[in-house]
């Protein structure tokens, strides 16, 4: 297996799907001639030209709408938001149009579209460029929400998203684009949406993490193993919607303790949803209240020290695990 960055794994997925299906095209700001603001689309325009890799004006609502209409008329657009922060301008198209079209049309018009781009914080880009929006979008029936944390998952999930007949929101993380991992080279390597992955097996406590908190949770798990001899299981749902709640519940039934680490804000987060569902399905198995680590309940700050304070980190996750394990 080749070792690739998440950036290149995504690039490979796009390239393979463009070749596989003539209806797949990539559209967004700076995706073509500039090679992508974060270089995820590097080389694609040179290889495939204007038809398959399309630069747009800075017109998020506009090109999101073009994607929705093109998908209704039979194409499979992959729409890049330079960051998900800008998707808020296009939220009407995602929520009011893409998500509802199949239902409103009585099953007649599918919208096979992928909206993708980096979600969450970057490095000191302050409040308007540091939002994790998965909970917002996951609230709406009709949308699927995917968040990969490894290079292999990034590739396999993006290919699955492009082949899916529903609107799929694919949320990457800028801090993770350079993370490397082994990636299968099979052109039909697909990771089905809605299947969680156990990133580390353990017996004593479960951490559910996604996207940027997965490597943090793995590091925290290792630390706790070394310092306290406590065995921590790390689960990455990979798809937020549909959510593979069974894998999480089964893990909690085994470990009896749950920590959820996520980058979004605390209030009404995906972690809150997971916590509630675990309470419903594994109430009698819990030996401690579920603990959640999230980003501070404030707009993300610029100053390096404040930003670090706001975001989840290894120390916060370690402290949470210690708390639920009464260490």
């Amino acid at each position: 297996m080749a070792v690739l960055t998440i950036r290149d794994a995504l690039n490979q997925a796009l390239r393979e799907e463009i070749i596989r299906d003539e209806n797949v095209f990539v559209m967004g700001e700076e995706v073509a001639e500039y090679d992508g603001a974060y270089k995820v689309t590097r080389g694609l325009w040179k290889e495939f030209g204007d038809k398959r890799v399309v630069d747009t004006p800075i017109t998020e609502l506009g090109f999101a709408a073009v994607g929705v209409g093109a998908a209704m008329a039979g194409l499979r657009p992959v729409i890049e938001f330079m960051t998900w922060n800008f998707s808020i301008l296009a939220a009407d198209q995602i929520i009011n149009h893409a998500a509802k079209m199949l239902y409103m049309s009585g099953g007649q018009f599918k919208v096979p579209i992928v909206f993708r781009g980096p979600n969450g914080s970057a490095y000191q880009v302050s409040s308007q460029h540091s939002q994790a929006l998965e909970a917002f979008y996951a609230n709406f029936p009709g949308l699927k929400v995917v968040m990969p944390s490894t290079a292999a998952d990034a590739k396999g999930l993006l290919k699955a998203a492009i082949r899916d007949d529903n609107p799929v929101l694919f949320l990457e993380q800028e801090r993770m684009y350079g993370n490397k991992g082994e990636v299968p080279e099979d052109e039909d390597f697909i990771i089905p949406l809605g299947v969680a992955d156990i990133k580390r097996e353990g017996r004593d406590c479960t951490i559910v993490a996604r996207s940027m908190t997965v490597p943090l949770a793995l590091e925290a798990a290792e630390k706790i193993q070394q310092e306290f001899g406590v065995s921590v299981e790390v689960i990455d749902p990979r798809t937020i919607k549909p959510l593979d709640i069974d894998t999480i519940v089964n893990s909690v039934k085994k470990t009896n303790r749950l920590v959820i680490a996520e980058e979004s804000h605390y209030f009404a987060s995906v972690g809150a949803e997971i916590s509630h569902t675990v309470m419903e399905h594994a109430f009698d198995y819990l030996d401690a209240p579920v603990k959640r680590i999230s980003t501070a309940e404030a707009p993300n700050p610029y100053a390096k020290n404040l930003e670090a304070l706001a975001l989840p980190d290894v120390a916060k996750i370690v402290a949470a695990v210690k708390e639920v394990c009464y260490l």
Partner: protein, 374 residues
């Protein structure tokens, strides 16, 4: 208010097209006078003259179908108002009465494979595109036999079979979606064009401007049809828009544009045909501002206290159906007997639609959770 003689000149001029900003600058603005509230009889006669000329070039069968669709649309919507008041239709219900010439004039110039997308004022356009009155009325009743199985109601008529991409409920939201449909036509290399309908109030939404920019930039075969019925809910255009001409806004994008009298079905047809030719030739988009007047309230819940009965009456004096009938009669294509027959057929179709809707069952409870995901 110009004198009648001046206005007659204006009528003749409005058939000119301004392409890529090269047309006379004031043309679209002049067009506004055409449908000013105080209408002269002379203008009506002038309009009829040009209609008669256009009528003589058309096949009788097509003319009959055009008139039938206009009458059907009128009677269908009148019935909607009636059964809405009886509580048979719920939610919002936006009627097309007064605007029939726009839907019929434009959509009946299409091929069946061409695509249409519109706003929530969609019942009549759905039928013109080929959907049955039964499937539209049953949808209004929220019944299983509705075109979208009772899931959409008044605002969301769809038919994949008839390339009808829906009625949409967010003002202006469909303008961008329709642009994407045209993008797909160009991408796939088909000869399809898109008729992309919206009201004049939607022009103030950002997506209108975003869409026109992309369509002209990428040469998308999209015909933007602004049905200017002069009121966005209860707010008149002059209270909501800093400029008077909507057609002229296309010039900011160097897009072909035309102002059309929406009371004249033949003028609408001719302008649409010119736009379709441009679109099929090299994918060039067009913005048509088609001026009409909505007789009814914005929706069934609108008491209409922002305008006078007198204003409505003046527009009704040059009603698109009456105008078309008068012209057809003068051109000796049809007479009163034909009109009676058409009225009868339309009434029969509406009655059948109501019967079908009444008899159709409510959707099965299991339908709540179907079609959420493909």
């Amino acid at each position: 208010m110009p004198k009648a003689a001046t206005r007659q000149k204006t009528v003749a001029k409005t058939t000119k097209t301004s392409i890529n900003g090269t047309g006379p600058k004031a043309e679209a603005a002049k067009g506004l006078d055409l449908v000013d509230v105080d209408l002269a009889q002379a203008e009506y006669l002038e309009r009829r003259k040009s209609q008669i000329t256009a009528i003589k070039k058309l096949d009788k069968k097509l003319l009959r179908e055009m008139l039938y669709q206009m009458v059907l649309g009128r009677r269908f919507e009148e019935k909607c108002a009636e059964v809405y008041r009886m509580g048979m239709i719920g939610g919002f219900c936006h009627l097309y009465i007064g605007q029939e010439a726009i839907g019929v004039g434009s959509m009946m110039a299409l091929k069946p494979t061409d695509m249409v997308i519109t706003s929530y004022r969609d019942h009549v356009q759905a039928m013109i595109k080929g959907m049955t009155p039964e499937s539209v009325m049953a949808e209004l009743y929220g019944k299983e036999g509705g075109c979208v199985k009772g899931k959409g109601g008044s605002m969301h008529m769809f038919s994949k079979e008839h390339e009808f991409y829906g009625g949409h409920g967010i003002v202006g939201g469909q303008i961008g979606v329709g642009t994407g449909m045209a993008y797909a036509a160009k991408y796939k290399g088909t000869d399809q064009v898109v008729l992309n309908f919206f009201g004049e109030a939607a022009v103030n939404q950002g997506l209108f401007h975003e869409s026109l920019n992309m369509a002209q930039l990428w040469k998308l075969p999209c015909i933007y049809i602004c049905e200017n019925n002069q009121y966005g809910m209860g707010t008149s255009q002059k209270r909501a828009m800093s400029s008077r001409s909507i057609a002229k806004k296309a010039e900011a994008f160097e897009m072909a544009n035309e102002f059309v009298d929406g009371m004249d079905v033949m003028a609408v047809r001719d302008a649409t045909i010119r736009a379709i030719e441009r679109a099929r030739k090299d994918g060039s988009p067009t913005l048509l501002e088609i001026r009409a007047y909505r007789y009814m309230g914005h929706s069934m819940s609108d008491p209409g206290n922002y305008r006078t009965r007198d204003e409505i009456k003046k527009y009704q004096e040059r009603d698109p159906i009456v105008l078309f009938k008068d012209s057809l009669k003068e051109a000796k294509v049809f007479g009163d007997k034909d009109f009676d027959k058409i009225e009868e057929e339309a009434m029969t179709a509406v009655a059948a639609a109501v019967k079908f809707a009444e008899e159709s069952p409510f959707p099965d409870p299991s339908e709540l959770m179907t079609d959420v995901y493909a």
